[in-house]
């Protein structure tokens, strides 16, 4: 399957959406940003990035367009759609709620 085993389902999607919310990027740039942001902790392999991108595109959360880059090569640029932005907001809220709850539980056990 396309999902990395150690990544909570949906997390990769959320990260991609978050990255694209800042600016439209191509696949390579997204992979670089992922590594940068998560400091390699999440271990997103480049191989799982592209199926995830295509899936998001099929769900209408992101859109792609071919642009020629500065060195005159074609690059596929991904852009967040309004639908994607809505989804991102919902997921972010969800995530904060769940992570807060889990953090609470984890701390409770240690105390």
């Amino acid at each position: 399957m396309s999902k990395p085993a150690d990544l909570v389902q949906g997390t990769l999607d959320m990260l991609i959406l978050k990255i694209l919310a800042l600016q439209p990027l191509n696949g390579w740039a997204i992979s670089q940003r992922l590594k940068q942001i998560s400091s390699d902790v999440l271990g997103v392999s480049d191989g799982s990035l592209y199926p995830a991108l295509h899936k998001l595109e099929h769900r209408g959360w992101i859109r792609s367009q071919w642009k020629s880059s500065e060195n005159n090569r074609r690059a596929k640029l991904y852009v967040l759609t309004p639908l994607g932005r809505k989804h991102l907001e919902k997921e972010t809220a969800n995530w904060s709620r769940i992570s807060a709850a889990i953090t609470g539980i984890v701390q409770l056990k240690e105390a």
């Binding site: 696949g27 390579w28 992979s31 191989g47 592209y50 199926p51 595109e57 769900r59 071919w66 596929k76």
Partner: protein
């Protein structure tokens, strides 16, 4: 998946479906791009190019795998999912065979009735002529006389039209004719067409043996005795003789050379009949009793068609043809004064059976749409019940990670299975019902009105199938919309689906009741008008009168011989035991023949400047009015002495007296008919001439002898049983000339019944479908009521425990059923009030808003609703409170 997501993904999915290579290329390019960036970075880090490449591939985790994963996203998985859903759906249907059978049956009914009616519309109205190409460009041509219905064309008019109509690719003539065909030692009557020589070329139909006609065969009087025979005739009568071309065949006693055999499946161009032979117009005299009239512009006998050039609209062609007609009026005022020429699309062809079944089929299209909707509502209801049962299954699938989109896909697939089975069944039913119309219209003559199941009917049925899939798939999907994953799993066996589903189910039942109520009203209206038609007096006595005739022209009689023959026959029959009176008439009222018509002039009557009064008339012999029982108001009947040597006379009807003589007795005055003055000798009562439903109109009669026709009908008033009269007439005709064939002998009553055939067909079809719809609605109501009773056993038990008795519960359930029915009937009444106008010309002397009809439909609906809810109500009243509450 939400609708919005579908909107986004659909173009992508379509693209990956139709342009898979391009999508694949782009995906590879994107990955290549990534690899190159990675390699460049690796090299910048100091790796060797080789190492950099390997490392980049490694980081990607295998190029091929990633590509495959992307392809999965692109929708390859959709096909896989679909197959999986299909298997699963079939298993589900197999698991509850009763439900599946009922659902498929409902849909078969709904889709089947549509397919049947489509196939009729296609095969009878839109593309009635098998093997003829581009029928949408064929138009029927007929003359128009102001203030009168359509008229036919004459040959010279037709030739001018064909020459001058530049927007027409072609124009051809066909005129139906019957012929006595002598094969071996016996003679039989068969039907064929007199056609212009370009007939087969214009239709694009090519004989399988021999040739079609050549232009020279249009010319002359009986000069070209050639015939093209039908494939059927070639196979049956000539045993498929391969050497048939050049052999001769006697038709109407004239030897014809067979020059061609039409292809199998070509039936000519007359809706309602399968033609057996075609002869050129030059053989007119042999096949029509009007004689040779190819040079007579006033002799109108032609049914013709034009084929418009591609891209030409009906309006453009009509404009040009009207201009041609105007020129003809100008050039030939004697014959063409005030005559227009009009064209009609094939389904409105004014001179064949299309005219009779057309209005019925138009109504049927609406009726079957209703039946389909009712069937859908029923199946939707069934699926809804089942989806309530399957709510646990759905919850499990959601909990284990299925998206709602997948569930919807699954439900739609199950809907597709049902509707595809229904469509298959429906098309099969349509195939069986192709010839049903002929059976219903059965009028004693060979009718040929087949339904046609071509790709258009198939496509329409497939479209309906998809629509049904959406409807029946969406109903349960609507229900899973608010499905809570935890609920159904927690409380195993409890029933889910609160008020919202109850609301959908009630809505479905109300719409079913509404639709079937409309159909009930329609059926009742048609039934009522059929009743009124049956009870309307045609103005002549229909009992104890037999009608027959002999084919003298076919036997080679000329006019003097025919006159002698008819005199002798009359003489022999008069006075025979059981025969009260005998008379001849050219056209039988309410029959199929066309009355003659003429411009008239009346002393003292001033027509408005632009209107030339034209009146229809019939040629009848002495004793006609006595024999048919038409009352004579003043003057006298025609006598034997009113013959070709006597002064011209006429008898007029009452409406004509009112219109042209202001109600004053016109006996003794004169009337101008076809330019000759004739003396009026009598006034008779109005009667029906062409249809029972017509309103009174001016009409007159002239003596048969003074406007002779060699093949009049013979009327015999008798007090004997019908069969004995038939044999008496046969015996007498045989004694006069053993070579003569008699036409079928029928009673005048039967003739009148045949005139009501369109109404009869409409009544039969609409009431059958109305009954079906009622049954479906009853099943729906029963389903909803039993389900809600089964659902509320706890409540019912509680009520009983608290002191409600069986009657209370009975009333509770029935009143709920009646509430639903009332809702449906109210909607149905409003809709019916708006819709019944569409029945238009099928209704006779019945208001489309007849309160009695609405009342009886209401009664039927109420009884049906009561009976449908009785069993569930009874079950409710038998609720055992102790057991229910314990459970």
């Amino acid at each position: 998946m939400h609708l919005e997501e579908w909107l986004y993904s659909l173009p992508l999915r379509l693209r990956s479906f139709f342009r898979p290579n391009q999508v694949d290329e782009e995906m590879k390019e994107e990955l290549r791009e990534h690899l190159e960036e990675q390699i460049a970075e690796n090299i910048a880090k100091g790796m060797s190019p080789d190492h950099a490449r390997r490392s980049a591939l490694l980081a990607l985790g295998g190029l091929a795998q990633v590509e495959q994963q992307c392809r999965d996203v692109h929708g390859r998985s959709m096909v896989r999912d679909f197959v999986q859903d299909l298997r699963y759906g079939f298993r589900q249907l197999h698991r509850s065979p009763g439900f599946s059978a009922l659902a498929v049956l409902c849909l078969t009914l709904g889709i089947g009735t549509n397919a049947v009616v489509f196939s009729w519309v296609e095969g009878i109205l839109f593309r009635p002529y098998p093997m003829v190409a581009h029928q949408e460009r064929l138009f029927a041509v007929a003359g128009m006389v102001p203030g009168m219905r359509i008229d036919l064309l004459s040959w010279p008019d037709f030739l001018d039209l064909r020459r001058d109509c530049t927007l027409c690719q072609d124009a051809f003539v066909t005129s139906i004719s019957s012929s006595t065909l002598n094969v071996g030692d016996h003679a039989e009557v068969t039907t064929g067409s007199i056609v212009s020589a370009n007939y087969f070329d214009a239709l694009g139909v090519h004989p399988v043996l021999g040739r079609g006609f050549e232009p020279s065969e249009d010319v002359g009087n009986n000069s070209q005795a050639v015939v093209v025979i039908s494939y059927q005739m070639w196979r049956d009568r000539f045993k498929g003789d391969p050497q048939i071309i050049g052999k001769t065949q006697r038709l109407n006693n004239v030897l014809h050379t067979v020059i061609g055999v039409a292809p199998e499946g070509f039936y000519g161009t007359f809706v309602g009949r399968a033609m057996q032979f075609w002869v050129p117009v030059s053989m007119l005299k042999t096949f029509r009793n009007g004689g040779y009239v190819l040079e007579d512009r006033g002799a109108r006998w032609i049914e013709s068609y034009v084929r418009l050039k591609p891209g030409v609209t009906r309006a453009q062609a009509q404009q040009q043809i009207s201009a041609i007609a105007a020129r003809l009026q100008n050039d030939y005022p004697a014959t063409n004064r005030q005559r227009g020429i009009a064209i009609w699309p094939l389904w409105q062809t004014p001179f064949n059976q299309a005219r009779i079944v057309g209005p019925t089929l138009e109504v049927m299209v609406i009726v079957v749409a209703f039946v389909l909707l009712i069937a859908c509502a029923n199946v939707g209801n069934l699926l809804l019940v089942r989806s309530l049962v399957r709510v646990r299954e759905m919850a499990v699938r959601l909990a284990t990670g299925a998206s709602r989109g997948r569930l919807l896909q699954q439900l739609l697939t199950e809907g597709l299975i049902l509707s595809a089975l229904g469509t298959a069944g429906g098309l099969l039913a349509a195939y069986w019902c192709r010839h049903l119309l002929v059976m219903l219209l059965h009028d004693g003559r060979e009718l040929y009105l087949p339904g046609e199941i071509d790709w258009r009917v198939m496509a329409a049925s497939a479209g309906i199938c998809l629509m049904v899939t959406l409807i029946v798939g969406m109903v349960p999907a609507f229900q899973t919309r608010n499905l809570d994953v935890a609920g159904p799993l927690k409380a195993a066996g409890s029933v889910v689906g609160g008020r919202s589903t109850g609301w959908i189910r009630s809505g479905l039942v109300i719409s079913q009741v509404c639709l079937s109520f409309i159909l009930l009203v329609g059926a009742a209206l048609l039934l009522e008008s059929l009743q009124r038609i049956r009870n309307t007096s045609p103005g002549f006595s229909t009992t104890n009168v037999a009608v027959t005739g002999a084919s003298l022209v076919a036997a080679g009689y000329d006019i003097p011989r025919a006159k002698v023959f008819y005199d002798e026959l009359l003489h022999r029959l008069t006075g025979l035991p059981g025969i009260e009176s005998v008379a001849y008439g050219r056209i039988t009222p309410l029959g199929y023949g066309d009355f003659s018509s003429t411009p008239i002039a009346v002393d003292g009557f001033q027509a408005s400047p632009n209107e030339q009064p034209v009146v229809e008339y019939n040629q009848v012999g002495p004793g006609y009015f006595t024999t048919l029982g038409i009352p004579l108001f003043s003057g006298r009947e025609f006598a034997r002495a009113d013959d070709e040597n006597a002064p011209l006379v006429a008898i007029v009807n009452r409406t004509m007296v009112m219109r042209y003589w202001g109600g004053q007795d016109p006996v003794g005055r004169r009337l101008q008919v076809k330019g000759h003055w004739v003396r009026i000798v009598g006034v008779v009562a109005d009667s029906k001439y062409e249809s029972v439903a017509e309103i009174s109109r001016p009409f007159f009669y002239v003596p048969l002898r003074q406007d002779f026709d060699p093949e009049p009908d013979l009327y015999i008033r008798t007090n004997q049983p019908f069969e004995s009269i038939t044999s008496t007439v046969l015996r007498e005709v045989d004694a006069l000339d053993p070579n003569l064939a008699l036409y079928q002998t029928i009673t005048l009553q039967e003739q009148v019944n045949r005139a009501a055939a369109p109404q009869l067909v409409a009544v039969t079809l609409v009431s059958t479908l109305g009954g079906l719809a009622l049954l479906l609605a009853a099943v729906g109501l029963y389903g909803v009521m039993s389900y809600s009773v089964a659902q509320s056993t706890r409540e019912l038990g509680l009520r009983m425990a608290l002191g409600a008795d069986a009657t209370n519960l009975l009333r509770l359930v029935i009143s709920r059923a009646l509430r639903l029915t009332t809702g449906g009937v109210v909607c149905g009444t409003v809709a019916a009030l708006l819709l019944t106008r569409l029945l238009g010309q099928l209704l006779y002397k019945v208001s489309p808003h007849d309160p009695l009809v609405f009342g009886s439909a209401l009664a039927v609906m109420a009884i049906t609703a009561l009976s449908a809810s009785l069993l569930p109500a009874w079950r409710a009243s038998r609720t055992d409170p102790a057991r229910v509450l314990r459970d």
